[in-house]
């Protein structure tokens, strides 16, 4: 990752990529839609929608339960998606990837299956001030059951993790550290390789929340060197209810099941049940087969674009938008880390975030307002809510122009 990627390659045409997304042609309140909420969930290209449709029309069956042809096809498609995803994030093998309903479930799986059995009173879990609730609350829940506590590594006013403080906080009673790869509010890209190195030196497992990274930059989990990597499919052009947890085979093998049921067993007897090997050990019940078929198509689509091109295009959009927003009087950007991802949280003097978002919506512009599932981060900045514009490769500078013009109008209306 972080190869010197400053320009999109000549083969990448952002307007052609945009045309792959049917929803982007609709209008909202009579205005052409400007969708700046991709950090919340991305739009889906036609190839993903068609893959889900085709699965239900032609291949639908349950996985790994029947010998008939359809079941074979469904199993092949589902396992094919796992293999594609594993390759996409740089996993050593498909067996290192547990398919989950998203990041939230992936983190909960680690909390209950890996962390809780090891936790003792007095132990701690280290997170950062900029985490999403999904990387806070599961740890709090298992800590509360075990008499352990949560510690928080601070960030700077610019929204950067203070790495020295994080390292100082990696004390012997820390049983696990959880860090977001990219902040969903600030856009900050954390130095996860460096953090993983420090954690590994101390024998502390590190979980990286990759929700906002996998959709927007090349990711190679093995070169990061973390122990767990969680991500969610719906932010990377895939269907909702899909995602994954990566961990090395030995790590997964050492973990007991979290959910019990079909699919995850080897042999069930009332006297005792033996469990399947990972990753299936952690995939009890019928999975979201069609969803993963769609996610497999999304991976193929993103690989076709090239993640280096995606990153470069989004950097262009970020730079353009940041510049343009500086011209809006009273606007303050929250999160000014260097090397940010294409996410801009902002405040406008005298205007409440929800009023801005509602008025922008009336102009056809979708931004998110609120706490972004990051209360502790809002508390750090002393604000209840921000507005957030988040970009994807399918956005355009014309859309940014419309957004900035509308924001200026809206700001004046409220002033």
């Amino acid at each position: 990752m972080n190869a010197p990627l400053h320009e999109t390659s000549p083969t990448f045409d952002p307007l052609r990529a945009r045309a792959d997304f049917p929803l982007l042609t609709r209008s909202v309140h009579g205005k052409p839609l400007v969708y700046f909420d991709s950090a919340n969930t991305s739009q889906k290209p036609a190839v993903v929608i068609e893959a889900v449709d085709r699965f239900y029309r032609q291949h639908n069956a349950n996985v790994a339960r029947a010998v008939h042809a359809l079941s074979e096809e469904a199993t092949t498609a589902y396992e094919g998606a796992r293999a594609a995803l594993a390759r996409f994030i740089g996993a050593g093998s498909p067996g290192e990837l547990v398919l989950t309903s998203g990041t939230t479930m992936a983190i909960n799986l680690v909390a209950y299956s890996n962390l809780q059995p090891r936790l003792q009173p007095g132990d701690t879990v280290l997170v950062t001030q900029m985490e999403h609730h999904a990387n806070i609350v599961p740890w709090q829940l298992v800590c509360a059951r075990s008499g352990a506590t949560l510690k928080v590594a601070p960030i700077s006013e610019r929204g950067e993790l203070i790495v020295e403080r994080f390292v100082e906080l990696l004390t012997p009673e820390v049983r696990l550290a959880g860090v977001t790869h990219v902040s969903n509010v600030l856009g900050t890209v954390n130095p996860v390789r460096e953090l993983a190195h420090e954690c590994r030196r101390r024998g502390i497992p590190l979980l990286v929340d990759g929700s906002q990274a996998v959709p927007h930059m090349p990711v190679d989990v093995q070169s990061i060197g973390c122990d767990f990597y969680a991500f969610t499919g719906h932010k990377m052009c895939g269907p909702t209810g899909t995602g994954g947890l990566w961990a090395r085979r030995e790590r997964l093998e050492s973990m007991p099941p979290f959910f019990g049921g079909g699919e995850m067993i080897r042999e069930v007897r009332f006297a005792g049940t033996t469990f399947a090997d990972p990753p299936h050990r952690f995939e009890a019940g019928t999975p979201n087969i069609a969803g993963f078929v769609g996610l497999g198509a999304a991976v193929q689509y993103l690989e076709g674009l090239g993640m280096a091109n995606v990153l470069a295009r989004e950097r262009e959009l970020l730079a353009y938008a940041t510049d343009a927003l500086h011209s809006v009087p009273g606007l303050r950007i929250v999160g000014e880390a260097s090397g940010k991802a294409a996410i801009i949280s902002f405040l406008v003097a005298g205007a409440h975030a929800h009023d801005l978002a509602t008025l922008l919506d009336l102009e056809g512009i979708a931004v998110r307002s609120g706490h972004h599932c990051a209360h502790p981060l809002m508390q750090f900045y002393g604000v209840p809510a921000t507005c957030r514009a988040s970009f994807a490769f399918y956005n355009t500078t014309d859309e940014i122009d419309r957004f900035v013009a509308a924001l200026d109008k809206v700001r004046r209306l409220l002033a």
């Binding site: 205007a351 929800h354 509602t358 008025l359 009336l362 102009e363 209840p384 809510a385 209306l413 409220l414």
Partner: protein, 148 residues
């Protein structure tokens, strides 16, 4: 702006220049309304004489919708009793829930009927109503957010 939605002129006017801003001299009944997730927070004070509201004041930090509603609510509340206001609160909830086009007695508050298309913002307009009714019942706090 071409599309204004719930931000009609009268709403913007009461947002920019809220009426009856401040506090009452005692005796007064007061309640705090807090929507912690939104960050909206206001205090409404009323004086009640012979079961009628005879004075109203509010202050706080809120979005434009909540501020304008709190300001407009002052006009509505003066001279009315608790039961009457409870009925109007239900009527207002129905109005902004899209259940009815207009309720004459709500007067200028009808300008917020567009909130029917903005379900996520209804709690902003309902907060002043809930806070007023808390004050009238002698309760000190109100919220229109589900406990998160």
């Amino acid at each position: 702006m071409s599309a204004i939605g719930p931000y009609r002129d009268i709403v913007l006017d009461h947002h920019r220049a809220p009426r009856r801003l401040g506090r009452l001299a005692p005796p007064a009944q007061a309640a705090e309304g807090v929507n912690a997730l939104c960050g909206d927070r206001l205090r409404i004070e009323v004086r009640v004489e012979q079961d009628r509201v005879t004075a109203y004041a509010f202050e706080g930090e809120c979005c434009a919708i909540a501020t304008a509603t709190a300001s407009l609510l002052g006009d509505l509340a003066l001279g009315r009793g608790r039961d009457d206001l409870a009925l109007l609160e239900r009527g207002f909830a129905t109005l902004i829930g899209g259940g009815i086009a207009e309720i004459a007695e709500l007067g200028a508050l009808n300008a917020l009927s567009e909130l029917a298309r903005y379900p996520a913002r209804r709690k902003c307009a309902l907060l002043p109503f809930a806070t007023l009714s808390a004050a009238l019942r002698g309760e000190s706090r109100a919220t229109t957010e589900l406990p998160a």
